[in-house]
Amino acid sequence: MIFTPLISKPDSVSAIMLKVLLALLPGIAMYVWYFGPAILVSITLASITALSTEALMLKLRRRPIAPFLKDNSALLTAWLLALSIPPLAPWWLVVVGTAFAIAIAKQLYGGLGNNPFNPAMVGYAVLIISFPMQMTHWLAPQGLVLTELSFTQQLDYIFQGVLPHSVTLDALTMATPLDTLKTHLHLDESVQQILNMTIYGQIGGHGSEMAAWGFLFGGLYLLAARIISWHIPVAYLGTLFVIAGIFHLVDPTHYVAPLFHWFSGAAILGAFFILTDPVSSPTTNKGRLIFAAGAAFLTYMIRTFGGFPDGVAFATLLMNISVPLIVLYTQPKVFGKKDKS
């Protein structure tokens, strides 16, 4: 039976997801440039885990496997999660996080299109709560620490947990720029003193700020290609800027400048790639503004006053919960129902 419309735009879920994956590449390239190729190992590990978990779950749920593996959505979850985990982490960390994200946060909720929470962020949250130690040892940017591992040595550590003789993990890794800032602020140092440390770059963390530029670039491509709408990134970064700006203006020695917040942690990645996940974000434009503004507020609060190194993941998950309510109260007026008269 044929039915109308007979024609449709040549587009597909898998093409959309593929474009998002492509948009991540500039940021990933920057990452590799500054931190070495270890991140590629995590991305590969995560991708393999995601696809096999997805296939297994689809089989258990008796759903067709091929079309869903081809939709690229599991890969996207994998990449986003890999980018949130320290690159020099034991292999099982990536595997456990990704498998949890796909099996529990995505498939158990009904698979593609049905997950109320962003799966990658669920994976991250589970890891940081269960393995806080492993999750906070970030690989230092190249050139900042004395000891550096070759790629094969990195692989040895990732897969077998062996480091070269007389090298300790602490010598290779450091806390993230956001984490360092928080710790040193507790030691009563001023923002200005802290930012003079070598791990800081022009705006944010050395190296990580460049990755953020890469993600910003990819994000702008997503906007231009109309894969995402402007509402979430603009409301998120705008709100983050305003809140950070107010605190900074009032007390610049204790509150870091707004641009620092943009370019450290997962703020840019979150604004363009994580919060914009269509499935777990609101479907109304007004709702998107509220959702993103709320996420920015929570991000700032968690970063500044909370106990976790970054706030993007928890902010995302908390706002994910409120999506149905936000959508319900931001319904646009239907044609012909605009004026009350």
Partner: protein, 526 residues
Amino acid sequence: MRKLNHFHGGIHPPSNKTQSTQVAIAHAPLPSKLIVPFHQHAGEIAKPVVQVGDHVLKGQLIGMPDGFVSSAVHAPTSGTITAIDLQLIAHPSGLPNLCATLIPDGKDEWVERKAVDYRDHSQPELQQLLRMNGVVGLGGAAFPSDVKLRIGKQKIKTLILNGAECEPYITCDDMLMRERANEIVQGAQMLRFMLDADEVLYGVEDNKPEAIAALQQAIKESNLNHDVVAIPTVYPGGSAKQLIRVLTGLEVPSGKLPTDIGVQCFNVATAYSVCRALAHGEPLLSRIITITGNVRRAQNFEALIGTPIDYLVALGEALSDTDGYIMGGPMMGIPLPSVHVPVVKATNCIIATSAKLFPQPQPSMPCIRCTRCVEACPADLQPQDLYWFAQSKEFGKAQKFSLFDCIECGACSYVCPSHIPLVQYYRFAKSEIRAREHDKQLADQARVRHEFREHRFEREKQEKADKLAAREAAAQAAKLASTQPLTPQQLAEQADLEARREHIREVAQSSVENTAVENTTERTGN
């Protein structure tokens, strides 16, 4: 330049119109058989006024309008009526309909035609003339035009002639405007007269420059102050409510008619038939139809109503891999149940389909809430939510989220990256809701009837019981009054009577209780 407004959403599908605008409108030769349905318009079916075996002339009335919303049907050519029976026609329901089969005699001999000067007639007279000439909207809905002119005391500010023709492939209005602009303009002037409208606007999409120029030329020649407005080409810009919004900035409130906001809309081809009907005395016997799609010669034909579609398709030389036909455009058209169905007044376009031209849709994926459908929806709906409610059969919610404001334009399906046949779900939900409402009405009526009957039973029972009681009292009194001892026979009769009374009382009592129980369960069940 008029300031144009816009409506939310809309899409830009490939127009595919050039194929069928290369050559002028051709007259389809007389086919050997015509099948003329009596129900080609919205409203009541016309009543046949001819019999099998009758010889009819071209333009002779064969179906009399019956009811307020109805329209006349005429013999498209001279010939003999050979059958009046149920035949398959192109209708979404797919049900057969009453049709007259006419075998042309080849003479194409007219009945007497009576042209009128519209200025000499009152509005009711003109409305009657249009009704008796079978003039209906040619844009697709085939709504009787006279009904749209009965506006009562409403003041019409703007008369809009719809020449937008926003659906891909269809070019019949475009070609009509190019070739017969003068009659369109005359017809528009007649409609304006009948509506007493302040202004006349033609809405034509800017991808039809020839049509726009032709209309402008015709208006200039007849010295009228009509205004041709080139509107942006965006689907569904030709949908009445969206067109009104673009041209006037007004939004027809949900559930209201354009006339409620002082606007009335007619298709340009309808204006053409109005002119033919009044100025030439010709009923609506033919129309322009685009034959396109998987054919060798895509072209517009002027064909008699009742012409079998396979006949037209043959004129367009459908290619061998054709696997079906659509009546209407690729966005909103309906698949033809058979290629043997006849042309009706609503037939604007026939598209031959093939797997190559219109590939099978890819299997649909779950909705990823990407809101591309929201961005495309001209009715400002949330198609993804409506889809969710429809597929989970939450019809109440679908209705609350304005399902019935959906115009089924298909823009949402067009853009959906998950290839979900969204419109199918909306049609399904709408028909389910309508069916349920119908059922509920029937049930309500039945309940009222039932309650009424119960009430009557009870009253009758009560009356009987009262009578019995009265008689009993009388008997008692008689017994007391009588000093005579009763005979054994009388005693026996009395005992029998008592027993019967007791029994009746019991029965009455228990049935009253039962009804009470029924009533309460019914109420709590509601």
